[in-house]
Structure formats: structure tokens, C-alpha cells
């Protein structure tokens, strides 16, 4: 809580520096043709996942709320930006094709034609009410933040107020996510049912710009969002607010009896996490090209938690490391580029076996290295700073362990 921002957050310059260097290197390699467009997109998407993991760490690692609802906020962010992308781009196409007609089309005709194009797959041609603002980019950008936050606020208020905690809270958040996914699967939910929103990689009005360029724009956008998100999270967790969050995680009753409105804090951090996750989703799905309700199935929630656990809970860079490492290794194994291994009776298909390996490493990390990959950083910082302040030398203060350690 004391000291300058950088002193409280020594990881900030390191993470931001690495992010900048990494992004510059990727850009240079992509420009010289060394990286495929699809790989650049994968990297950009990975940065978005890291941002989502960061937001997950905020609620789970710091406040102790294992939210399995964050993936819903992620997908909702994608849906909100996707609504504008689809509407605006279809409008462009329709306007072009109708322009050749003798009588210029009325705005209503264009609107109807766009509706027919977008909702034809679900047997409709009218814009549902929730698409009311889909023509406006600023409105949909606002909704990227507002819709996930509002959902988190309402859900959190109900859950925290009744003092649901621990595994019950996790189950509740999972139920929320599943309910939302099942709702969105329905055609009359107004978001094209199981088709979801597609063609999101095509930016309206920029059909002349090649995807190789667009992919770099999004890479930079994602890197910027991750950098700003990291700064914001560092600010939030390193002050008194963060001390209270960790207090709630470790001893909720103590915080309460100190006079802090615990529910208010949980609600604040849950809503902030939802907003950040929504932004991450809004940057992710235009790179993925498609968002549909399957993105919110339980396995996705688990993924988010696994990244944070493997990276190391309760430290911001842990979440970033975990998400980047695991999702890159994951895309390597599931790319199909790795030849399958023939082991006589057993055929090792990496695409399938990867999940088993991931599950296994999750168990190993949880049991053997609860600090996760981020814990490796401790080895390094402790070697540099021998003053242990008594840590890990046992609590017995009669024995002058600190002095002994210096010798």
C-alpha cells in the first residue's frame, strides 16, 4: 500500500516491456512474410485470452471468488461487437447490390434486405428488439462494457447478498453461464441461435484492406488492451482496495467486523472483471470470425480457471503467463500438424490427448506447485534479494532465523 506505483508493482514495466517487444517482433516477422496471417490472429487472440485471464485472476486470485461465469461475459462482449460488424457490413453489401436499381432504395428497404440477409438462417427477416442499436458503433461499443457489467451487477447482487460463497457460488455462476448459453441457442433469443454471429473478421467499409493487415491491427489493439488492463488491475490490487480483496479471500469475517461492506467490494470487483472480460471478448471474436453459444459451454469456463491456476493465482503476471503458455501450447497440439504416434495397440492422437495432458498438468500443478508457473519468478527474485524478512524460515521468532539466514 505504501511506496510509489512502480515500487508496489515491479512486474508492470517488465510485462509492458515484453508485450511491446513481442508485438514489435511479431509485426516485423509478419511484414517480412515469416508468419502466416492465421498465426498472427492466433497470437492476437491469445493476448485477448490473457486479458480475460487477468480479469479472472482479479476475482479468483485476489477476491477468492471462483467465477465460472466470466466466459459468459467474454462471449457477450463478442456478441455486442459482432452485432455491429454484421449489420454494418451487410448494409454495405446490400446498398451496393441495390445501388444499380433504377429507383434508389428507401432506408426501410435497405433495412429489410439487411434483416433478411442476417436472420434468414433462423427463418426471419426482422431485426429483433435487442438489435435496436446495432447500426451504431459507439452504442455497441458501450454495450460491450455495459451488458457484461450489468449482468455481473445483477447476478452478483443476488448471490453475494445471500452470502453464497465457495463452491456453491462457483456452481451458481456456472449455472448462470449455462442458462445463458441455452437461451442463446434458441432462435427466438434474437442472436441467430446456434449459428451465432459470423463473418466478423470482415470489417465494414474496409473490404479493400487485406486480412494480413487487419490481423496486425487487431494484434496491436489486443496488446494495447492487455497493457492497459494490466495497468488497471495493478492499480486496483496494489492499493488498499487490493488489500481488502485479499482480506476477503483469506478471512471474510475479519473484513466485515472491521466495518467494510464485503458485498460491495465483491460486487465492485466482479463487475470490473466482467467489464474487462467483455472488452477482451470484443477484441477476440473479430479475430476468430465467429461467436456462437457453444463458446460458453462449461469446458470454456474450466479453461479460463485452468490458465489462471497453471499460471499462478493471486499474481497478475501469473494469469498472463498461464493464458499465453497454455493456449499457445494448446493450439500447437490441436493444430493437427503434429504427427500421431503409433504405439501398437494405442494410437496417440494429439488433438484428443492434449486435453488429457492438460488435465493431468492441472492436477500436478495444483498438488505440487500451487503457486503455478508464476512461482518460478519467486526463485529468481529471492535469489536476487536475500533479505527474506523471515519468510519460509518458520514462524518461531525466538530463534533469530533472519540473522541466521544472513550468515
Amino acid at each position: 500500500m505504501t511506496g510509489s506505483f512502480l515500487k508496489r508493482n515491479p512486474s508492470v514495466p517488465v510485462v509492458l516491456g515484453l508485450l511491446l517487444i513481442g508485438t514489435l517482433a511479431i509485426t516485423a516477422m509478419a511484414a517480412s512474410g515469416g508468419l502466416s496471417t492465421s498465426f498472427v490472429k492466433t497470437l492476437g487472440m491469445t493476448l485477448c485470452l490473457a486479458l480475460a485471464a487477468l480479469a479472472m485472476d482479479l476475482v479468483w486470485g485476489y477476491a477468492g471468488i471462483l467465477s465460472l461465469g466470466n466466459i459468459a461475459f467474454f462471449a457477450l462482449g463478442g456478441y455486442m461487437i459482432g452485432m455491429w460488424l454484421m449489420t454494418a457490413r451487410t448494409e454495405g453489401i446490400v446498398a451496393e447490390s441495390l445501388a444499380g436499381q433504377a429507383i434508389p432504395p428507401t432506408p426501410q428497404e435497405i433495412r429489410d434486405a439487411v434483416g433478411g440477409q442476417i436472420f434468414g438462417v433462423v427463418g426471419s427477416s426482422d431485426f429483433p428488439t435487442i438489435w435496436a442499436f446495432s447500426g451504431s458503433l459507439p452504442a455497441q461499443l458501450a454495450l460491450v462494457v455495459l451488458v457484461p457489467s450489468a449482468l455481473a451487477l445483477v447476478f452478483g447482487w443476488l448471490a453475494f447478498r445471500s452470502r453464497v460463497t465457495g463452491v456453491y457460488l462457483s456452481i451458481l455462476t456456472q449455472a448462470m453461464t449455462l442458462a445463458l448459453a441455452l437461451y442463446l441457442f434458441q432462435n427466438d433469443a434474437g442472436l441467430r441461435g446456434n449459428n451465432g454471429l459470423s463473418g466478423l473478421q470482415n470489417l465494414p467499409g474496409l473490404s479493400g484492406v487485406p486480412q494480413s493487415t487487419v490481423s496486425l491491427w487487431f494484434l496491436w489493439g489486443s496488446a494495447l488492451a492487455l497493457g492497459l488492463g494490466y495497468l488497471l488491475c495493478a492499480f486496483v490490487v496494489s492499493g488498499k482496495f487490493g488489500a481488502i480483496l485479499r482480506g476477503i479471500r483469506d478471512n471474510e469475517a475479519r473484513v466485515r467486523f472491521l466495518g467494510y461492506p464485503v458485498e460491495g467490494y465483491k460486487l465492485a470487483v466482479f463487475t470490473l472483471s466482467a467489464a474487462i472480460t467483455g472488452i477482451a471478448g470484443a477484441l477476440y471474436y473479430p479475430q476468430a470470425g465467429i461467436v456462437n453459444p457453444a463458446e460458453m459451454m462449461p469446458i470454456a469456463s474450466i479453461y479460463l480457471a485452468v490458465w489462471v491456476a497453471i499460471g499462478g493465482r493471486g499474481r497478475l503476471y501469473g494469469a498472463v503467463i498461464g493464458a499465453i503458455a497454455v493456449s499457445l501450447i494448446s493450439s500447437f497440439f490441436t493444430s493437427g500438424k503434429l504427427p500421431d504416434l503409433d504405439l501398437g495397440p494405442l494410437r496417440l492422437v494429439w488433438v484428443d490427448w492434449w486435453l488429457v495432458m492438460l488435465g493431468f498438468s492441472f492436477v500436478l500443478v495444483t498438488l505440487l506447485a500451487p503457486k503455478g508457473l508464476g512461482g518460478l519468478v519467486d526463485l529468481w527474485t529471492q535469489r536476487r534479494r536475500p533479505a527474506r524478512h523471515g519468510a519460509d524460515l518458520g514462524p518461531d521468532q525466538g530463534s533469530f532465523r533472519e540473522e541466521e539466514a544472513k550468515a
Binding site: F241, G247, D250, F257, A268, D396
Partner: protein, 246 residues
């Protein structure tokens, strides 16, 4: 002497078992009080009721000059009204430094937004230094509180309560698990604290209670069995019967 806390006719049952039975209890504004009683007498439950953790089935609790009712207020709200509580087991934020523990406890605005932008000023840091002096942890401010010895954790928790600047301090078995020297120090801290505020100490150790040198309330089966000076209550035959005799 003006009354700070007035508990009257309070009862509470858990699954039909009456843990607190028509209990009445008064505290003045700057008073030290020891509460003793056998295991299960309802001492901790009494604190639970005053701090809002447990809702009584009946009875009233009046607080302060205006005599507002504490019933129905949340724990956090009651704490902000000026009731500080030390738990029976030491509860501090083990993952954070002693300084951070005290800084968090300092009396300040408690809302999330206020906390987000709060920075400790020189006055706050001085206050923390002074508090750490009081509780004998000045040399340990930068250690994680999880590394402290059991007794030091108890002191830290008392220090956090003092930082909160409560008008009433409820202290549940502060000397449990302490060495003799630590107990003496704890007595000093509590006696000093009671000069400017009301302090209720629950304790089993008679030596400790004697050193507190204050009015004593004996609880038994959820109600007050006797009240007065230590010598007065220890010569009470009922008290000898249920508590001291065993």
C-alpha cells in the same frame, strides 16, 4: 456514568437449545469489564449478538447516547458504529504485512471507491507506528503477519481493533495460548485501551482477570449469574458451584 451499551432481555436458541437466556448487560462509556463463565456459558454467543453475527430471538440492544437499536444492522454497519471485535482464534490477514494489516484497519471511509483511491498519508503512517509501538510489534512492521507467533498475532488483532478507533471493544479470550510475559503485556494494552473506551474481555484465566482489576460479570447457561468485583463474585456460592468448584 452514561450508558454506551444496554442489552436487555436477550434470548437466542439454536435448534431448541437456549444459548442465551434473558440476558441483560450494561456498559459505560469508559469501562473495563471482564466476563467469565464455564465453557458453553454463552460468552462468545453474547459477542455474536452484539456484533450482529447472530440475531437474537427476542430482547433489545441499545447503543450510544441516542440509544439506537443495533438489531437488524449488518455486522459491517455495527462495526462502523464503533463496535470492535477480537475473535477467539487470532484472525489477521496472514498473507499481508503487519503494516498492511494495521493500515487496512485504520478508521477511514469504508466504501469500495474510497478504498480504491486511498493512499496512506504521513499521519496514517505515524498512527501505525504508534500502534505498533503499543502492541509491541514495531520491529515487525514489514513482516508478513502469518509469520508472527501466536501471541503476536493476538496483539496484532488487538492493534487492528485499536486502529479502528471503536467506542466498545469486545475481546474474546485474548490471553489464550500466551506465555506469562505475553499475558502481562496484554493486560497492559487492555487496561490502557479502557481508559478512553469501553472494553469487554472474556477470559478463563483468573490470574489474568485479577490483573485487569475491574468489574466482573459471571455468565452461566446464557444469563448473568453474578456481577461485581472479582472478590465479590468469587465468594458467591453459586459461582463457586458452577464455575470455580470444578
Amino acid at each position: 456514568m452514561s450508558t454506551l451499551l444496554e442489552v436487555s432481555g436477550v434470548s437466542v436458541s439454536f435448534d431448541g437449545f437456549r444459548a442465551i437466556n434473558n440476558l441483560s448487560f450494561h456498559m459505560g462509556a469508559a469501562e473495563l469489564r471482564a466476563v467469565i463463565g464455564p465453557n458453553g456459558a454463552g460468552k462468545t454467543t453474547f459477542m455474536d449478538i452484539v456484533t450482529g453475527k447472530t440475531r437474537p430471538d427476542k430482547g433489545t440492544i441499545r447503543w450510544g447516547e441516542k440509544g439506537i437499536s443495533l438489531l437488524g444492522l449488518s455486522e459491517a454497519r455495527i462495526a462502523r458504529e464503533g463496535v470492535g471485535r477480537k475473535f477467539q482464534k487470532p484472525t489477521v490477514f496472514e498473507d499481508q504485512t503487519v503494516r498492511a494489516n494495521l493500515l487496512v484497519a485504520l478508521r477511514n471511509k469504508r466504501g469500495p471507491f474510497a478504498a480504491l483511491f486511498w493512499r496512506p498519508g504521513p499521519a496514517d503512517l505515524e498512527r501505525v507506528d504508534a500502534l505498533s509501538e503499543t502492541i509491541g510489534l514495531a520491529a515487525h512492521l514489514d513482516r508478513k503477519s502469518g509469520e508472527l507467533s501466536h501471541g503476536q498475532k493476538q496483539w496484532l488483532e488487538i492493534g487492528m481493533l485499536l486502529a479502528q478507533e471503536p467506542r466498545l471493544l469486545l475481546v474474546d479470550e485474548p490471553a489464550a495460548g500466551m506465555t506469562v510475559a505475553e499475558r502481562e503485556k496484554t493486560t497492559e494494552i487492555l487496561v490502557e485501551a479502557a481508559k478512553t473506551r469501553a472494553v469487554v474481555v472474556v477470559e478463563h484465566d483468573m490470574e489474568f482477570v485479577r490483573r485487569l482489576n475491574c468489574r466482573v460479570t459471571v455468565l452461566h447457561e446464557g444469563s448473568v449469574l453474578a456481577e461485581g468485583s472479582l472478590d465479590h463474585v468469587t465468594s458467591n456460592p453459586d459461582v463457586i458451584d458452577v464455575y470455580l468448584g470444578r
